[in-house]
Structures are given as structure tokens and as C-alpha cells.
């Protein structure tokens, strides 16, 4: 039995597989910032009132560390730390105000008018989503950070003999949630989509917990979604129910950058299909609008057959992978497959 695996270490595009580590770094950074910003906001006014000398040494280290991120842009202690504020739902990032598109859409639905100074803050996220698809879901969303750890927990529970739920539903359910959520927002005149959208909940609840001394009722909802993910469907909330994910998916339907299988390098091992958190079919090139660019399939691919390409459509039905047993049987295998580079 001779191995037909190409030498992956000489593969020029094998760097793609490290994107997943970068993604975890990004997710963790966003989450840690969501913890640090409320904490530092408690000290900020204190420091502005010349109370810096009264901070304890650990508080000083913490404050200086946070100031280091923002100090190059401001000198005024009352404006210190103001350049990174808020959360992923709506916040300021180095002076640039950014908001979740769902916040803008929800506000338009609730107030039945467009408040332009706020609407334009979602412009950059919308444009980025149209280029990269649901990148927010995979790379920035603080709830994704918890949900993926929750998936790992489900895997450990599986080792202990506790089966997690693997039900499948219709993915279009979340568009219904989006539409119904917006309708209820319009009828009640309150932005109620914010109360069922996990990243918004996490941003708020972390602030409540740190600065106001306890979690609020949103955390109960979030815990229920965690239980739903373990007991009913893997990543079930993101897949089937998240209204924001639905909006991002619609916006990113014709995204420019997408993951594609290069059929010459694929060996039909189907590890990508097993690892995909969203239950997509990378081996069949069936991503559609759902892919959140999490790059887990790229990281696990043993032959580096998956890569980002610039296309506005998927390319399904490329056929069997050229390194797979079935393809080699039908096409006549040579001793060493030529590695065709794009």
C-alpha cells in the first residue's frame, strides 16, 4: 500500500490552515476586551479625577495596560480609553463608530423611520459582510466564542457517554425568526430583536456582571441557548435561530471571498464535513450563504485541498477528489499524483 499523499510541508498554500488559530486569537481578544472595557470604565472617572495614585498596584497595571492600547490617540484623561468603547452590538473602535446591521434594521423596524446618523455606522460592517460573508459570526461574535467552547464540552460529555443532541432542522428557520422578530419589534415599537440576539446579550450582560454586580435576565436566555446546543442540535442556535446570523447570511450571499475545494488535492476523507460547525458540506462544495468563514475545514484538511478563492458563487459538483481511492480506480492511478497548483 503506497501512500499518495503529497508533501504538505512544501505546499505553498498550507499557510491557510493557520487561519483557524488566528480566528481563535481574534475571538478571545474580542471576548477579553468585552471583559476589560466595563472593568476599566469603573476606574476611568476615578483616574480622570486625579485618583490614579490611590489605585492599588494591580489596578494600576490593569489601567496602564488598557491605556497602552488607546493612549497614542488621546492625551486628555477624561477622554482616555474612550477610543475603544462599547461592545460588538454597537461601539467605538479607534474613534470609528460601528454597529451591528441588525441593530440598525431593528431600530428602523421599531421606530418606523431611518435615523441616518446611526444607520451609517452599520455601513462598514455591511460592506465587509458583502465581501467576506458571515465573517462576524465566525471571527468576532463573543457568543460564538462561548458556543464553540460549548461544542467542545459536548464532545467531552460524549466521551463520558452522554450523548448530545444531533437533530437537524430547516436552516431557513432563522430567516423566519428574523422576519417575525422585526415584525414584533414594529408592532411593539421596541427594539426587541436585541433581546434574542446572543452577541448583544453577551455585551450587555458582561457589563451588568462586572459593573452592576450581577447577570440580568438576558443571561437566562443565553444559558437556554447553550442547553439547546448541547441537548438538541449542535450549534443549533447559530444554525437555525439566530436573527443576526440570518441577516449576515442574506447580506453575504454573493460574497467575494469564499472557501472552495480544489479537487486535484482532495482525497475524499470527509473530515471537513465532520468538523463543520454549521453542518455544511465542504467536500461537496455546498456552502451557500451559511458559511461563517470559520476555517475549521481548512485547518483539518490533511491534503490542504480547501482554500479561499475569489468567486461570487460556489462551484458544486466538481466530482470526486483526485487523490481519493475511487477517482484513482476509475482514472488509473499513477505512482505519484502530480500536484497541480492553481
Amino acid at each position: 500500500m503506497t501512500s499518495h499523499r503529497p508533501k504538505t510541508e512544501t505546499h505553498p498554500l498550507s499557510l491557510w490552515r493557520h487561519l483557524n488559530k488566528l480566528r481563535w486569537l481574534t475571538l478571545a481578544t474580542v471576548f477579553i476586551m468585552l471583559l476589560c472595557i466595563p472593568a476599566i470604565s469603573l476606574y476611568q472617572t476615578y483616574v480622570a479625577a486625579h485618583g490614579y495614585a490611590l489605585l492599588s498596584s494591580s489596578q494600576k497595571i490593569f489601567y496602564d495596560g488598557m491605556e497602552l492600547l488607546t493612549a497614542p490617540f488621546t492625551d486628555d484623561p477624561t477622554k482616555d480609553l474612550a477610543v475603544i468603547k462599547g461592545n460588538t452590538w454597537s461601539g467605538t473602535f479607534f474613534g470609528l463608530q460601528l454597529s451591528d446591521p441588525l441593530a440598525v434594521v431593528g431600530q428602523i423596524a421599531a421606530s418606523l423611520q431611518v435615523y441616518w446618523p446611526f444607520a451609517i455606522t452599520a455601513l462598514i460592517p455591511i460592506v465587509l459582510t458583502m465581501i467576506f460573508g458571515r465573517f462576524f459570526c465566525g471571527w468576532l461574535c463573543p457568543a460564538t466564542f462561548i458556543y464553540e467552547l460549548n461544542t467542545n464540552l459536548a464532545a467531552w460529555l460524549h466521551h463520558l457517554g452522554l450523548r448530545s443532541g444531533q437533530h437537524l432542522f430547516d436552516r431557513r428557520l432563522k430567516y423566519l425568526v428574523l422576519v417575525v422578530g422585526l415584525l414584533i419589534s414594529a408592532l411593539t415599537g421596541a427594539v426587541l430583536v436585541a433581546t434574542v440576539y446572543p452577541p448583544a446579550i453577551i455585551g450587555r450582560e458582561l457589563y451588568y456582571a462586572i459593573a452592576l454586580g450581577g447577570f440580568g435576565s438576558g443571561m437566562v436566555f443565553f444559558m437556554l441557548t447553550l442547553l439547546f446546543d448541547i441537548l438538541v442540535a449542535r450549534r443549533g442556535f447559530c444554525r437555525y435561530l439566530c436573527p443576526g446570523g440570518a441577516l449576515y447570511a442574506l447580506l453575504g450571499r454573493y460574497r467575494l471571498f469564499r472557501i472552495q475545494r480544489r479537487v486535484q488535492h482532495c482525497n475524499d476523507c470527509a473530515k471537513c464535513n465532520a468538523i463543520c460547525e454549521f453542518g455544511l458540506n465542504p467536500m461537496g462544495d455546498d456552502f451557500g450563504q451559511e458559511c461563517n468563514n470559520c476555517t475549521a475545514c481548512i485547518a483539518i484538511c490533511p491534503t490542504d485541498a480547501l482554500a479561499f478563492v475569489v468567486r461570487i458563487r460556489d462551484q458544486p459538483e466538481q466530482g470526486e477528489g483526485h487523490l481519493g481511492a475511487r477517482y484513482r480506480k476509475t482514472h488509473g492511478a499513477t505512482e505519484q499524483q502530480p500536484v497541480v497548483l492553481r
Partner: protein
């Protein structure tokens, strides 16, 4: 593929149609009336829009409390009704507003208006509520000179003046920050803010 496209188009058409219907229909936010049945007495942060507009404008991002140096802004869970969930409020007896106007500056949606921190603009635009004195509880009206509310007031002689035995008299320019209620030494407090949740000039 075609089915999915048809579904998406139908969903979008449904949303647009319903929004158009709501726009035409008078008294759009019929359910917002339910929001007014609060059982607790609370203030919205300074510069807040009228209650119905506020609920439609506020996206529940939680930045106003983060900006508040006095830690007076809290958030509703379910106790204020579902529509008010996650919106900011102030209980002046616990911690009152110091009128720093930072929450309005940071609010991304204009639900809290950005108001310059000058006496004229604050009197003109901030309408959180209005103080009311309970003469049966107030020490100064019982013959014991107190005047704590007057000394706590950020706008003395504009919002609140004192007369004989430092008896407080609320003037028409009271903005309802609640510092007098916070400071009142009587238990329960003899001066309290009656919230103003209706029409605002902002």
C-alpha cells in the same frame, strides 16, 4: 435554489408590506401603550426622548451606563415589561444623576440626545421629571431647619429655592436629576422626583 430564492423574496416582500401597512395605519405602536404600565417609579437618563420614541430608538447597547461616572444608570430586566427590557433607568434614591451629560454624548442612536453641559441648555432640554415636596414629611415644614435638598441641588435658585426655615420650593425649571431626593435625610424621603415620560421638547 429557485424555491429558496422565492422564499427570501416572499419574506422580504412580507416585511416591506407590513412596514408599509404600519406606516399608513394611525397610532402605529398600539402595543407600546402597554409599556406605560410601570409599577416602579424611575427616571430615564437626561436627554431621553419621549417614552414611545425612546423605546423605538434605543438599541439596548449598554454604553450609557458605561459612560456614566456616577454609576447611576441601571438596566431593566423583565420588571419593566418586555418592551422595556435592557433599557436604561435611574432610581434617584439609590444614585441620582449629576447631569454630566456623558450618556447623551456616547449614545449612538440619539435615544439620549447629546446636550452641551451648560446651565441654559440643561434647563432647556433636560426633562427627566420634576421634584415634589411632601410637606408632611419635610423637616423644615415641621419647624426644624434642614435645607439638605437645596444644598444638594446642582441648579440652586434655578430649580429649587428655600424660604423661611429653609423650606424648599420647587421652581418651574427643575430638570429632575434627583440629587435632592438622594440627599434627603428623611426616611422615607420628603422630596421626590415625579418622572416625566411623556412629550419632551428635545
Amino acid at each position: 435554489m429557485v424555491r429558496r430564492r422565492r422564499f427570501v423574496l416572499a419574506a422580504l416582500a412580507g416585511v416591506v408590506g407590513c412596514l408599509a401597512a404600519l406606516k399608513i395605519m394611525p397610532g402605529t405602536a398600539w402595543a407600546a401603550g402597554r409599556v406605560h404600565r410601570y409599577r416602579m417609579r424611575f427616571l430615564r437618563p437626561p436627554g431621553a426622548l419621549a417614552e414611545e420614541d425612546f423605546l423605538g430608538r434605543c438599541i439596548r447597547c449598554g454604553q450609557c451606563a458605561e459612560a456614566c461616572p456616577n454609576n447611576c444608570i441601571q438596566y431593566f430586566g423583565l420588571e419593566g415589561g418586555v418592551a422595556a427590557m435592557g433599557t436604561p433607568f435611574i432610581i434617584p434614591r439609590q444614585q441620582a444623576c449629576i447631569l454630566c451629560m456623558k450618556c447623551g454624548d456616547i449614545c449612538p442612536t440619539g435615544a439620549l440626545a447629546s446636550i452641551p453641559r451648560t446651565v441654559a441648555t440643561i434647563i432647556d432640554k433636560v426633562q427627566m421629571g420634576k421634584a415634589r415636596v411632601d410637606k408632611h414629611l419635610c423637616l423644615s415644614y415641621q419647624g426644624k431647619t434642614c435645607g439638605v435638598c437645596y444644598r444638594a441641588c446642582p441648579l440652586p435658585d434655578i430649580s429649587l429655592r428655600v424660604g423661611y426655615l429653609e423650606q424648599p420650593h420647587v421652581l418651574k425649571d427643575c430638570v429632575g436629576c434627583g440629587l435632592c431626593e438622594r440627599a434627603c435625610i428623611q426616611m422615607p424621603q420628603a422630596i421626590r422626583i415625579i418622572p416625566h415620560l411623556g412629550e419632551r421638547s428635545v
